[in-house]
């Protein structure tokens, strides 16, 4: 199977398949870039990454090397095999036009958002444009490279990023997995250091 090596510009979606046994690497090219990501079982897309299944099984909310990403059916879909960032977010979800009106101001509705990227990607992708995947299939996503600490008092913070230029996260696919990425366009909070930047996405076979 041929590997992929693509640069995804800030604010663009990306979709692709990483086959069982292949590795997927996402590189934060310029640093502090949130990469909103969802995973689907490529042969049965009603099975997808589940934030709650994943954090419940590992007993912690952050993701790093060794973490198994579990599906809504409790199956391991991918495992993080390398991580030079150290912590990725499971709770912050994706920005949307509608949540931007709540979080920032009613007149932020027209700003670009991750959910708009997700919806456009699903509308255009050959495997999903017949409506196989819709807004109904957008559960809570992973934010690679994003730092969302929770305090023991139960507060949620959007903290400055702990990523930096060139850091990467690498996952091994345990099943054929459809990957949906929004390279986050958010300009209203520090998740992208107020400057969304490109990422690099690579896949390859392992011997």
């Amino acid at each position: 199977m041929k590997g992929l090596d693509e640069v995804v510009a800030a604010g663009e979606p990306w979709m692709g398949v990483v086959h069982r046994g292949q590795s997927l690497r996402i590189v934060d090219l310029e640093g502090n870039q949130a990469v909103d990501t969802l995973f689907y079982n490529a042969t049965d897309t009603a099975e997808h990454y589940s934030a709650q299944n994943t954090i419940q099984a590992q007993g912690r909310i952050y993701l790093t090397t060794g973490a198994a990403l579990l599906s809504n059916r409790g199956n391991a879909m991918l495992r993080i095999e390398e991580d030079t960032c150290g912590r990725h977010d499971t709770l912050g979800g994706a920005c949307s036009a509608e949540s931007n009106t709540v979080r920032y101001a009613l007149d932020k509705r027209s700003m670009h958002s991750c959910r708009d990227s997700f919806l456009l990607a699903l509308a255009n992708h050959p495997q999903t444009k017949e409506g196989e995947l819709t807004k109904r299939d957008l559960p809570s996503n992973i934010n690679f490279f994003m730092n969302v600490p929770v305090t023991p008092a139960g507060e949620l913070r959007f903290a400055d990023g702990i990523s930096a230029a060139g850091r990467h996260v690498q996952l091994r696919a345990l099943i054929d997995t459809l990957v949906l990425i929004s390279n986050c366009p958010q300009l209203n909070n520090p998740c992208n250091a107020y400057n969304p930047t490109p990422i690099r996405v690579m896949t390859w076979d392992n011997a």
């Binding site: 709650q52 954090i55 909310i61 709540v102 109904r136 559960p139 023991p152 913070r157």
Partner: protein
């Protein structure tokens, strides 16, 4: 009082709660837990959203003053009273394998209605009554359960948190499909299956005033109410 009903321990329930109705849930015993999900009655594709609820209010737990956001920037329900102090929005549901491993395998044939139903199966059954399925089974809330997160991100369920008689009031701001399961929390370590019953009491509430505690909790919530009121304006 509009109506009153008890969910036996281990059982599941669903119903439609209209805008303006307050639903009180009361724990029938210590360490109660109720998995809860909310969907717009008008368009169930609009549904409770864990991430939007947490990040709009900068919280990782729910209590009085907090609201439950849909994915469309609107408020499905508000927590107007809470004698318990902390509800868990993070940890999700039990599944059948977990329930069997922890409490033993059961079947209707032997145990009848005392069989142990998992949170996932309970929700799939209730959602199915509205044409919804596992694609709609989004991240849920566990009412009455407290789970703290330490500096390293580790989750810990606090035992002894909910006491018999603790209650939480949900004021519905939209016509909402509510699905509930009075089953054990997924991080519970007890080996006996004995989830307490939950009392439901519905009453008519007052519309949220300009100085409503949930509305003025943060500027985000003020905008969430505006978005919700805009949809119901006519």
């Amino acid at each position: 009082m509009l109506w009153e009903e008890e969910i036996p321990g281990g059982a599941h329930w669903s119903g439609v709660l209209r805008r303006g109705v307050v639903l009180r849930l009361t724990a029938g015993g210590n360490d109660a837990n109720v998995a809860a999900l909310f969907f717009s009655r008008e368009q169930p594709l609009e549904r409770y959203n864990m991430a939007d609820t947490l990040k709009a209010q900068h919280i990782a737990h729910l209590t009085a003053g907090a609201v439950c956001y849909s994915d469309m920037g609107r408020i499905l329900c508000s927590i107007t009273a809470d004698s318990c102090g902390w509800h868990d929005p993070l940890c999700g549901l039990t599944d059948a394998a977990m329930i069997a491993a922890r409490y033993g395998a059961t079947r209707f044939q032997e145990q009848r209605n005392r069989r142990y139903v998992s949170g996932r199966d309970a929700m799939l059954v209730e959602l199915g009554k509205y044409g919804l399925n596992e694609r709609d089974l989004v991240a849920n809330i566990n009412l009455f359960s407290k789970v703290v997160v330490d500096e390293a991100g580790a989750l810990q369920l606090v035992t002894g948190h909910a006491k018999a008689g603790h209650y939480v009031d949900l004021r519905f701001e939209m016509d909402t499909i509510v699905a509930l399961h009075a089953g054990p929390h997924p991080l519970a370590t007890t080996t006996a299956y004995a989830p307490p019953a939950i009392r439901l009491q519905a009453r008519r509430g007052s519309p949220p005033a300009a100085d409503d505690p949930c509305r003025i909790r943060c500027p985000e919530n003020a905008r969430g109410y505006l978005n919700t009121e805009r949809m119901y304006s006519s």
